[in-house]
Amino acid sequence: MRGRSREAAFLLLPGIGLLVVLFYLPQLLMLLVSLGRRTAYGEVERAASPDNYLRALEPLYLTILGRSLVLAAVTTVACLLVGYPVAWWLARRASPRWRNALLALVILPFWTSFLVRMYAWIVLLRSEGVINLALGAAGLPRAELLYNDLAVLIGQLYGELPFMIVPLYVSLEKLDPSLLEAAADLGADARRTFTRVVVPQTMPGIVAGCVLVFIPSLGAYLAPDLLGGGKTAYVGNLIQSQFAVARDMPFGAALSFVLSLVVVLLLLAFRRPLGSAQAL
């Protein structure tokens, strides 16, 4: 037993150490900051006041948080709708010989920084951009594609899609094809086979993909900033601007904790279906 526990300490220590130094300690610092006050020069003054949290719950900021929740939810649903057929094709239709190469293509965008990829979308979407030039060449009217909510959603969908496809692929690849035959054999057509067998069987992948897309989307700020033109405020931009522009670290920290709390509450609310993701 002693050997076992020493082995466990040996295996876990680097990870725990990193977590403590780079996550828990900074979190603690931020918690202290969030309870403090901003001085006139943007410094942090020690205090123990709930003011920043009360301010974060003002209607203006709750609206922004709500908008972020909607963006994250729409992004997640869009990723699921776009990603599921892709994952299905990869796992069940694509030739096994090419499957790994195709999967690598899904992950390939990660080789480039997210920032650069967002700029690439600007090149595509702006009024003199690739898409509008093509529309013009085809004799069609041009469209204002950039700096609106649709552009933000496109950027988010594009950026988060691989995080949806990969877990879906894993669960679809494990799906036993004889279960589909059994469902057909018992009288289920394609639609009911999908809703009654495929979806329940791939629920771990669906849940994992949704969590992986939803949580980062909730705090997204690059796509709203670059593709939305900063016209619509999302909570990610709000927090970022508190630190970088308004120099109100205590309020930014409080907003961060409110956001984390929302995520924790959501995970708790969905813990039953989330439990199934452990089967992945």
Partner: protein, 358 residues
């Protein structure tokens, strides 16, 4: 007629591989028909064609007098018990059996009634709440059976359902399944590679090889009168000789094996003087006494103890024959003993060899 299965000239290829070649087979309503053959002989493909998971390249399939060749699997009045059961892991035992009834859209109370009855039928009453991941292999098989039977199929298709069970349980399930089939009078199409299983359970056996049906018949008929070398070999005829017909007359044919053993075979009319034929001889039809027309002196080369009987390998000239002897008689013999063996000419089977002819 309800429950009648007719397969007419069905073929199916995968690329260059002809999995099923021009197969025709009938099953009368309530008959237990077994497809028997080694792995890769096309028996599972044939079953999947009947289930509708595969489409034939040519030919037609009829169930209860209706052409179902173009019908999708979910519309066919046939249900399948899969080799590895294919139970839905996210559903309970009850949920698995209820699946097809729920798809039919039956009211909840009726679903519950019929599922309960189906579970009773396979002796799983009271286990409905169990998860299918928590039950034993034998129980899983019963769930798979109940799930198919609850829909009252006109034909039940079973794809090696016993393959994953241990031998003792398999023997029990064979008898139980046979009794169940006799009680329900549902047409069974049963796939297996195990000749004992086929002999125990089937009313009719179709032996398949290389995508074709080699011979169809009742268990006894197949056992006693295999017509081809393949069927004889697969059904355990241990002594097979490529022989030359020396002469025909007086109701017998005189044949000589390649190693020079000559004996009489009762002539079924298929022997031609000078022709080459395959003949077979079951080891239990040879006795170690000198009493019939074909008697030879030999020595015991080897013995294989099989519990209630012993398989003696007896060398006679250039041939080694497998001779079965019940162990009540076999006591006292040993390797190297000189023995006399004999067999009646009626025991010699004349076998076709379509592969050699082709």
């Amino acid at each position: 007629m309800k429950g009648e299965l007719r397969i007419r000239g069905v073929s199916r290829s995968y690329g260059d591989v002809q999995a099923v070649r021009d197969v025709s087979l009938d099953a009368a309503p309530g008959q237990f028909v077994t497809l028997l053959g080694p792995s890769g002989c096309g028996k599972t493909t044939l079953l999947r064609l009947v289930a509708g998971f595969e489409r034939p390249d040519s030919g037609s399939i009829w169930i209860s007098g209706r052409d179902v060749t173009a019908l999708s699997a979910h519309k066919r009045p046939a249900n399948t018990v899969f080799q590895h059961y294919a139970l839905f892991p996210h559903r309970s035992v009850f949920g698995n059996v209820a699946f097809g009834l729920e798809i039919e859209g039956l009211p909840k109370a009726e679903v519950r009634d019929r599922v309960e009855r189906a579970l009773e039928l396979v002796r799983l009453a009271g286990l409905g709440d169990r998860r299918v991941t928590e039950i034993s292999g034998g129980q899983k098989q019963r769930v798979a059976l109940a799930r198919a039977l609850v829909l009252e199929p006109e034909v039940l298709l079973l794809d090696e359902p016993m393959a994953a069970l241990d031998p003792k349980l398999r023997k029990e399930m064979q008898v139980e399944l046979k009794n169940l089939q006799e009680r329900l009078r549902i047409t069974f199409l049963f796939v297996t590679h195990d000749q004992d299983e086929a002999l125990v359970m089937a009313d009719r056996i179709a032996v398949m090889s290389q995508g074709r049906i080699e011979q169809t018949g009742g268990p006894e008929e197949l056992y006693e009168r295999p017509r081809t070398r393949f069927v004889a070999d697969f059904l355990g005829v241990a002594n097979l000789f490529r022989s030359e017909v020396l002469g025909v007359g007086g109701g017998v044919a005189r044949v000589r094996t390649e190693a020079g053993l000559s004996f009489d075979a009762s002539n079924d009319g298929g022997y031609r003087a000078g022709a080459t034929v395959w003949v077979g001889l079951r080891s239990e039809k040879i006795s170690l006494t000198d009493r019939a027309a074909n008697a030879f002196a030999g020595t015991i080369d080897d013995e294989i103890f099989l519990g209630d009987w012993t398989d003696w390998r007896v060398r006679v000239g250039g041939e080694v024959l497998s001779v079965g002897e019940g162990n009540l008689l076999a006591r006292g013999r040993k390797r190297g003993d000189a023995v006399t063996l004999s067999f009646p000419p009626e025991a010699v089977l004349r076998l076709d060899d379509p592969e050699a002819a082709a």
